[in-house]
């Protein structure tokens, strides 16, 4: 009997499921968090993503991957989507999809870029822009399960208007150290001038390499290349650096 259970479970997770939009909230001028109800959702790990498929009336269909933003919560799944102005899918999700509308989702998938509650080592999260989303799922799961694993977050973002999850992160004070870096414009009176992050920023915000933290880096390809390169340059072992680039 057990032999039959495995393929059925795998088949379930990889079949396209209907996801109905139940609510939407603004995270920044260009980003929205979409709350979906997904009957049969099998649960997920922090950092996993889903494939989202949209199909037009004429049958044309296209799919994209989005990280799950929320901690596991029954059949509810939250995606935080940044609008890419000339994008094919994201403007539809952020602006046009109406509450009650459905899309198809498949997943969750991926076992590499995840944080599991049984991990106890220090964690260094490095986010560039909307790369914060899967890292936010890790922060939320850490809080939900009451983990004491020490977390540090370096969040590089263009300007305060582009910042996600600010009020929620501010509440999350126990064991989560946060450093914000602004690349284009800062809040008034901010001590560090706007600019790209440096090796010194990265070292000041994180853990020394001999603490052997697991480093999770998510952002644009340029951000990930630079951050992962600097981490290795200051002595972090490549096998403890996990990356997730988005387009």
């Amino acid at each position: 009997m057990a032999r039959a259970a495995v393929p059925r479970r795998l088949g379930d997770r990889l079949s396209w499921k209907t996801a109905r939009l139940t609510d939407r909230r603004e995270e920044s001028s260009a980003a929205r968090t979409l709350g979906f109800e997904v009957p049969g959702w099998p649960g997920h790990l922090a950092g996993q993503h889903v494939d989202v498929r949209l199909t037009a009336e004429d049958g044309y269909s296209t799919q994209r991957s989005y990280s799950v933003a929320s901690a596991p919560d029954g059949e509810r799944v939250e995606l935080t989507v940044q609008r890419v102005d000339d994008g094919e899918v994201s403007p539809y999700l952020t602006d046009e999809l109406a509450v009650g509308d459905v899309v198809e989702v498949r997943g969750p998938v991926g076992g590499w870029f995840v944080w599991r509650p049984e991990q106890t080592e220090p964690v260094y999260l490095l986010a560039g822009g909307s790369g914060l989303v899967p890292l936010m799922a890790m922060i939320r799961v850490r809080r939900t399960v009451g983990s004491r694993a020490p977390f540090r977050l370096l969040y590089s973002v263009r300007s305060p208007e582009h910042q996600f999850f600010e009020s929620e992160l501010r509440l999350d004070s126990s064991g989560l150290d946060r450093t914000y870096l602004y690349s284009r414009s800062t809040p008034a009176g901010w001590p560090r001038p706007a600019g790209r992050f440096t090796a010194a920023d990265l070292a000041a915000a994180g853990w020394p390499p001999d603490f052997e933290p697991t480093c999770y880096v998510c952002g644009s390809t340029g951000f990930v290349e630079r951050a992962a390169g600097l981490l290795v340059a200051v002595g972090h072992h490549p096998n403890r650096i996990r990356t997730e680039r988005f387009g």
Partner: protein
């Protein structure tokens, strides 16, 4: 012209799992070109074409190509010296 954009191997997780029946991002392989050993999650994934292409992050060799049509799946893993797939959890 800018080189085509790539993502991490994790981005191909869904299509790979559909072909192999288990999570392949945690599978490890060896590049037949340069000998580098890596998790498929650490490869560079090119998803913009008609299929999925994974390349070695060190030497750029094509490791694996996967093309799916409604009726069939083509898999060419000739760029991998071997592939070690963990038993499903």
């Amino acid at each position: 012209m800018a080189p085509p954009a790539f993502l991490d191997g994790n981005a191909a997780a869904g299509d790979l799992e559909l072909a192999f029946g288990t999570d392949m991002t945690m599978a490890s392989g060896r590049c037949a070109g340069c000998g580098e050993q890596m998790m498929l999650a650490q490869t560079h994934a090119y998803l913009g074409g008609p299929g999925t292409v994974l390349r070695c992050p060190v030497c750029g060799s094509v490791l694996l190509r996967l093309v799916r049509s409604p009726g069939q799946t083509w898999l060419d893993a000739g760029g991998l010296g071997h592939l070690r797939i963990p038993a499903p959890a």
